[in-house]
């Protein structure tokens, strides 16, 4: 779960990291009031979960009330790469002497936390890593003991932080590690971490991803994220506990098991089709869950045809067939379906479907055949007899 900048900064502040005082607001009047409160000059920053805000005109400096009003009214409602700005963060503008970079993340390969630090902040860090890797310090931390202040001092020193702020940078690194650890984050990043002319070390931006599996430990974090910009079908799926990812195509896809669904998307794409979604109906899908899933699939108006790819393990094919028949009775889909049932109770499942003779439902024997059929159907071609 990715957090907006201001949400990340609020977590930072909770763990003792210095951030500028500021306020999240959703209207122009509130933006002006917030600017008056934090004191000019202020920065008006669009809150969206996408990079390149500055270039898109979503970050502006305002020296007085009329500028604050102008920028807030321009930025609120702005579309930045498909993300509508609904919130702006108003913060007191900082004077900057140096821009550093700091992050803590879960290194899946080393299976340890990784602390990274560079004095080349304020730019794309992947570029720094590629072009001048010696300027990016990478330090693995023992997950069982955590990051000590002494270790953080070493990182700051090795990275070449100005000698008078080594201690301040080390404090920031330790605080950032605490954010990562105590909030169950998978990533906590500050870019830039600035040094002010009076030698204060501050987080000017934030990028935080929290582990959705750990949210039960953090009820206070459950309302975070950019839920207003979330796809409405994805949000509904989340509420219903269904693994669903919206994609750009027109072929609705349902399978059981994340790997099989990913594979189904690939096979459909190889057959020339374009998947409209990822939907994992999960192990042990029962009829009720199937009905719910069909409803979700068809909530996307772009869907022109649907593929059910089931390899039954715990999932029983007869249950899937029963669910599909029930879904058709209630929802009466207007788009064609291709159904491939294999594995546990597949014979019974196919028999149930054949007997029900659902309109515009086609049976496929193999995954590849199913993909070809659904691609043809989505393109408006016919594929022979229905199931």
């Amino acid at each position: 779960m990715d957090l907006l900048e201001y949400q990340g900064k609020q977590l930072f502040a909770r763990h003792g990291l210095r951030v500028s005082s500021g306020k999240p607001v959703t209207t122009v009047d509130d933006a002006v009031a917030a600017a008056d409160e934090v004191g000019y000059p202020v920065v008006v920053k669009a809150q969206v979960l996408i990079g390149g805000r500055g270039k898109a005109g979503g970050v502006k400096l305002a020296a007085n009330e009329s500028e604050a009003r102008e920028h807030a009214s321009n930025i609120l409602g702005m579309d930045i790469k498909g993300h509508i700005v609904r919130t702006v963060w108003i913060e007191h503008a900082s004077d900057i002497a140096s821009e550093y970079y700091a992050s803590v993340l879960l290194d899946r390969s080393a299976k340890q936390p990784l602390v990274m630090f560079s004095t080349e902040g304020g730019v794309d860090i992947e570029e720094v890593a590629e072009k001048t890797p010696e300027k990016l310090i990478r330090h693995h931390v023992d997950a069982l003991t955590g990051l000590s202040h002494g270790e953080a001092v070493e990182i700051a020193t090795k990275g070449g932080a100005d000698s008078d702020v080594i201690d301040g940078v080390a404090d920031a690194l330790v605080a950032l590690y605490e954010v990562w650890l105590q909030e169950d984050a998978t990533l906590a990043e500050i870019n830039p971490l600035i040094v002010t002319p009076d030698r204060e070390v501050k987080a000017l931006d934030s990028k935080v991803s929290l582990d959705g599996n750990a949210l039960y430990r953090h009820p206070e974090n459950q309302g975070l994220s950019d839920s207003e910009n979330e796809d409405p079908i994805e949000r509904r799926a989340k509420e219903e506990g269904v693994q669903y990812v919206k994609l750009d195509g027109d072929i609705g896809i349902l399978g059981n098991g994340a790997g099989l669904v990913m594979s189904t998307l690939d096979v459909v794409a190889q057959a020339g089709g374009s998947p409209a979604n990822f939907l994992d109906a999960g192990g042990g899908s029962n009829a009720e869950k199937i009905k719910q899933a069909v409803d979700l699939l068809l909530a996307n108006d772009a869907v022109k045809a649907v593929l059910f790819n089931i390899f039954g393990g715990i999932t029983r094919c007869d249950e899937v067939a029963t669910g599909l028949i029930a879904a058709f009775a209630e929802i009466k889909p207007s788009v064609p379906f291709v159904v491939r049932l294999d594995g546990t109770n597949d014979v019974e499942g196919r028999r149930l479907l054949a007997e029900a003779a659902l309109p515009n439902v086609h049976a496929a024997k193999t995954m590849n055949e199913a993909a070809e059929m659904v691609v043809a159907l989505a393109a408006g071609q016919s594929v022979g007899a229905a199931a």
Binding site: N256, F278, G343
Partner: protein, 298 residues
Amino acid sequence: MSVLIDERTRLAVAGITGREGTFHTLNNRNYGTNVVGGVTPGKGGQNVEGIPVFDSWEQAAAEVQPNTAMIFVPPRFAADSILEAAAAGVELVIAITEGIPAHDELRVYNTLKRDHPGTRLIGPNCPGILSPGKANVGIIPASFFKAGNVGVVSRSGTLTYQIGNEIAQAGFGCSSIVGIGGDPVPGSSFVDVLELFEADDETELVVLSGEIGGSAEEEAAEYIAAHMSKPVVAYIAGFTAPAGKQMGHAGAIVSGSAGTAVAKAQALEAKGVRVGRTPTETASIAVEVLGGAAVTAS
């Protein structure tokens, strides 16, 4: 032979008294797995269809000497259950539980490494292990597989069944099927399991089924080139997955430009590993290498 589980397996199950735990434990026993006990705090002294239940792993270890643990408890209790089983001296822990926080997995991985190096963890968020004809621990539907010479290691359950079933229909069986799970910090990686298959007399070929996220497939490619004498055939899922979106599994996410299916397939192919573009093609390549007839798609 086979890897990790066989006739010598003595299985105890954490969460045996839950609905799913009972169902799958009995399924495993029906298959022939020697199930010696279960662990549910507060339910010690009860039994599940004759299988004795203990309050703790320590008690279970003292009374029935399990050498394999299966973890079927809810996510918030799973990490401690794994560590308790390890502390009780259980050598192999297979964690089926899905949804364990990544930080807990990190703590478990590093604690096992530091304090219990004799314990191997498979999973979490995995379907378990099946050694056809010998033992089944977990939720893999055994009826699709028979004993044979193909080792399978996979991050996904149903995808494994799909590929395994196609290989089975061509007449080949499996030595063991090992699900390492779809989470960001698995207890065992591809490399760990490849090492076991390389050493296993019965295994002639290994099918590796990977997916987007992390770098376990790239590490496997390096390992295969340096250490494997047996052929490995691979499949990677997630070519169409958009960056930044978690595709079902907690670990299946492309981060920036890292962890893509293309990069994984290229890394494997660069080391001479043949990568199938579809599950069917993967099975076909495996069968071709084994010297069998072409696979009829299923």
